[in-house]
């Protein structure tokens, strides 16, 4: 990364008649390992490095990027961004919410430096997962494992005096398995993610997690009963809590979506001015508070400053069941007359930063997990999920249980096969009557943007008890 060229690009942009300019440079050392049925298909290792310019001129925004590091190329992309900003010809001029320039450097610590882990060790760590699965007593028909390592160096400057340098190492893993028993198949995947060093692998304990998954799938085939559909109590494990927090709280609270900027792709939101849902209105029970917090150290979605140079902080999205605070970047904040809360993220130098979640989770309550279960006469404990989706206004959602159990008279009474909750955001969060003390996180890749920007996040929370919801 050549900071001199970045500074030159900003200087050149400022020589034009602009309202705002920023240059964001990024260099990513990327390693990708793909194993199929325990065999290393390919080890892909590369460095992607480039920079982008974003300009506001005449109330329009232009963006251009390149991976060619030269002053001539910098000049060309500044000219392009400037031309495109002016060509927008908007009736409603765009401005950014006010921010002061920031000068800082930040990094994420590694206890065990990824750079010091040899490719052989990286490969064998993953191959060990397949070896463990092969001897776990479950018939594994197929596996696919992917490991991603990203060492990202970033340099951000803008026309308001910001100069921010950062370095973030991230590791991700994705394992997909197919179990075959009695001529039937079941499938599951697990995802892992961490900002930091190779020490993540010790904490993840992937072989043990995958063996557990395999045994769960075997039980689904060989032991699980079907659910008798009807209204019943439902305990959501932290994984289900987390996906619900992400899908039916985090996404509808993205201000760009609320304002319509994503209308053609990810959609809009059930929350909008003039609807029955807006800031200050109730969407759930008193028992639930959902936050989005980029400052959780070593989380997959960790950052102390966002990609517009705004300091990050915890955002209280649903607070005690009330719609409380949207996720904002500087563009959406200006439109709604507020300040950015540091939610602007981009996956790379060649993508514009847009409003994103970081780590979205439900805050813990007062109950032990056992206490949630012991009060249930007839219900389901959906510990984890498989198929899921939600409509593009983020109101109608569906979660299909992966590991799930029948609860009778306060006790778990055997596995159930693929229980389904298909309900609305309002019904889901309103039905929560108890929240457990313990909180857990899961790594995920959140999709949004066009071109798509899959971005690392955590989802999570405690166990939730939903009273009398329809399960089928």
């Amino acid at each position: 990364m050549e900071e001199e060229i970045v500074d030159y690009a900003l200087e050149y942009a400022q020589s034009k008649k602009i309202e705002y300019a920023e240059v964001r440079a990024q260099s990513q050392v990327q390693d990708r390992l793909t194993l199929r049925n325990g065999i290393l298909e390919a080890y892909v290792s590369s460095v992607d490095s480039g920079f982008c310019v974003r300009i506001i001129a005449d109330g329009g925004i232009g963006f251009a990027s390149t991976n060619k590091w030269s002053k001539e190329e910098a000049k060309e992309i500044v000219d392009l961004a400037f031309k495109y900003a002016k060509a927008a010809n908007r009736k409603e001029k765009l401005v950014f919410a006010e921010e002061k320039g920031v000068k800082t450097k930040w990094t994420v610590d590694q206890k065990k430096k990824i750079e010091n882990i040899s490719p052989e060790d990286r490969i064998s760590t993953f191959a060990d997962v397949d070896k463990a699965l092969a001897s776990c007593g479950v018939k594994i028909a197929a596996t696919m494992s992917q490991c991603s390592i990203d060492l990202t160096t970033e340099y951000f400057v803008n026309s308001e005096g910001s100069r921010i340098s950062s370095f973030v190492p991230k590791i991700g893993a994705f394992i997909f398995i197919t179990v075959t028993e009695q001529g039937k198949t079941e499938q599951a995947y697990e995802q892992f993610g961490y900002s930091g060093g190779w020490e993540a692998f010790r904490d993840w304990n992937i072989p043990e997690r995958m063996i557990h998954s395999a045994k769960v799938l075997k039980d689904v085939i060989t032991k699980a009963k079907a659910v008798k559909p009807g209204d019943m109590d439902l305990i959501c494990g932290s994984e289900v809590t987390g996906i619900a927090a992400h899908e039916s709280c985090g996404h509808p609270m993205e201000a760009d979506r609320i304002l319509g900027r994503e209308m053609s792709q990810a959609g809009r939101s059930f929350i909008y001015k003039g609807s029955q849902y807006w800031l200050g209105t109730r969407i759930g029970s008193d028992a639930i508070t959902v936050v989005d917090d980029p400052t959780v150290e070593h989380s997959y979605g960790y950052y102390p400053y966002d990609d517009e140079g705004v300091k990050a902080r915890r955002r209280f999205l649903y607070k005690n069941g009330i719609i409380n605070e949207f996720l904002h970047n500087r563009e959406s904040a200006a439109k709604l007359g507020t300040r950015s809360n540091g939610s602007s993220r981009s996956v790379n130098y060649d993508r514009e930063a847009i409003v994103r979640m970081a780590n979205t989770f439900v805050l813990p309550g007062d109950f032990a997990e056992e206490e949630l279960i012991e009060d249930v006469k007839h219900g389901i404990y959906m510990k984890s999920f498989t198929e899921w989706n939600i409509d593009d206004k983020r109101f109608n959602q569906r979660y299909v249980g992966k590991e799930a159990y029948l609860i009778e008279n306060g006790e778990l009474n055997g596995p159930v096969a693929r229980p389904v909750i298909e309900t609305t955001t309002l019904k889901f969060w309103t039905a929560v009557d108890a929240v457990s003390k313990e909180i857990e996180f899961d790594a995920a890749t959140c999709g949004k943007g066009d071109p798509s920007q899959g971005i690392p996040v955590y989802t999570g929370g405690p166990c939730l008890r939903l009273g009398k919801v329809y399960v089928k």
């Binding site: 892909v44 590369s46 390149t66 991976n67 596996t143 994503e262 060649d350 198929e387 593009d392 693929r418």
Partner: protein, 441 residues
């Protein structure tokens, strides 16, 4: 042009000189331009210039790959890559990169796309068309994307060539009311024949019809799929034919070669030919791309292969090589005998779906999945649209739905939209019987 091809070939020679058994290098000079708009105004215009050489090499069946962004840095990159190969793990199933000298079809890029100066005008034209159909209060958003790529490929195994690929894609979603919308797309490899207003008019037309929707009922319906939503289904079935997805069992087509997977009227092909936004004259191994019949009159004929998977399956490469695994490029469904209106007449009581999103599987091998229709959901009674609906979900099985295709239209549309109707396809109107619909309770 030849200078870049020479430099690309030089990378191959250097890697061979360092001891690599087989090497492929592919240099892409890409220019991409995008206009994003919402609320009838341009939000941002984006330009990407991307220069990259993808290098894949094999040494004693160890397969490694990298990207080089600067021809001045080739020596160090190749040395590092060879070093990685020497400590990597053997892939005993690797069957080698494609071998042979090939002649390629002539690329037919549209140079006008590379020099398109005012894409904003095309966007405004489409917004105007949506307003004409649905009224001046219609609220439209979407994207216009142009793509121009020069691709240079050299392989130690013989293939060498140049391809120039152009594409323009437009997507517009128009809202006539908060919960009434329509979506239109227009995709082409050339400016000639590209009519964004056609997509705008379709989005506006559906948005107008979709006004005052009621919550739909659960049940089993005969469903007419618009080409856009059927493009999403083709985006399910097409990639499931990749040999890689077969091997990891993320496919309903495992162990189905030579077997009946659909009715006689179903013929599916992969064909990245000149009209398609994913046009290409060779794949990532330098094998000429071609029309590949995946399902022939209901019978699964082949998986999609690169040279290595072809060897494993005792087949021939189908020209679908990607960097690691075979990819579907552009799925075509053969036309049927029905006019669009005839499909409606066939439907006594059913649904007409125009678009969908968020398709997710609980089991790819079995095919159980759900997806959420959006942008115009209509109840059909006695062949006519009776009511606009909302808030329903298709909760069914991908193999069963393929088997329940009952009628296919004569007309087809080239569609591609975001990650939902992807890869691109040539998609007709299709009637599928007995589709399971669920909703929130």
């Amino acid at each position: 042009m030849s200078d870049i091809l020479d430099k690309t070939e030089e990378i191959v020679k250097k890697a061979k000189g360092l001891g690599a058994d087989e090497v492929i290098a592919k240099t892409t000079f890409g220019k991409y331009r995008q206009v994003r708009f919402s609320n009838n105004q341009v939000d941002i215009t984006v330009a990407w210039n991307d220069y990259v050489t993808d290098v894949a090499l094999a040494w004693k069946k160890r397969v490694v790959a990298t990207q080089i962004h600067d021809f001045t840095d080739v020596d160090a990159s190749i040395k590092n890559l060879m070093g990685l190969a020497k400590v990597s793990q053997e892939n005993p199933t690797f069957g080698g990169f494609a071998k042979g000298k090939f002649k390629y079809a002539k690329s037919k890029p549209d140079k006008k796309l590379e020099d398109l100066e005012s894409p904003t005008e095309l966007v405004l034209e489409a917004i105007g068309a949506a307003e004409k159909e649905a009224g001046s209060k219609v609220d439209s958003g979407g994207i216009l994307l142009t793509r121009f790529e020069d691709v240079y490929l050299a392989s130690s195994e013989g293939p060498m060539g140049f391809d120039s690929r152009s594409a323009i894609e437009f997507s517009i979603r128009a809202f006539s009311e908060r919960e009434a919308s329509g979506h239109g797309v227009e995709c082409s490899s050339t400016l000639k024949g590209f009519e964004p207003a056609r997509a705008g008019a379709k989005a506006g037309e559906i948005a107008k019809l979709a006004k005052s929707p009621k919550v739909g009922d659960e049940g089993v319906y005969d469903v007419i799929f618009d080409p856009l939503i059927f493009g999403s289904m083709l985006g399910v079935w097409g990639p499931m034919a990749s040999a890689f997805y077969i091997m990891i069992q993320m496919s309903v087509f495992v162990d189905k070669l030579g077997k009946k997977v659909g009715p006689e009227i179903v013929t599916l092909k992969d064909n990245p030919s000149a009209y398609s936004v994913s046009n290409r004259v060779f794949d990532d191994e330098g094998v000429p791309t071609r029309e590949t019949v995946i399902i022939d009159h209901g019978v699964l004929k082949t998986y999609l292969h690169n040279a290595s998977t072809a060897k494993m399956f005792k087949a021939e490469t189908t020209g679908n090589a990607g960097l690691v695994s075979p990819n579907a490029w552009n799925i075509e469904m053969e036309t049927g005998d029905y006019g669009k209106e005839e499909l409606f007449k066939e439907t006594k009581r059913g649904l007409y779906l125009t678009n969908t999103w968020y398709t997710r599987f609980q089991n790819y091998a079995k095919g159980d999945f759900s997806t959420i229709p959006r942008d115009g959901i209509f109840l059909i009674e006695k062949g006519e649209i009776k009511q606009s609906l909302k808030d329903i979900r298709v909760s069914d099985n991908a193999l069963t739905m393929l088997g329940n295709i009952a009628a296919i239209s004569k007309e087809r549309q080239h569609v591609h939209w975001w990650g939902e109707a992807d890869p691109p396809s040539l998609s007709p109107y299709v009637l599928i019987k007995n589709v399971h619909i669920t909703k929130s309770k």
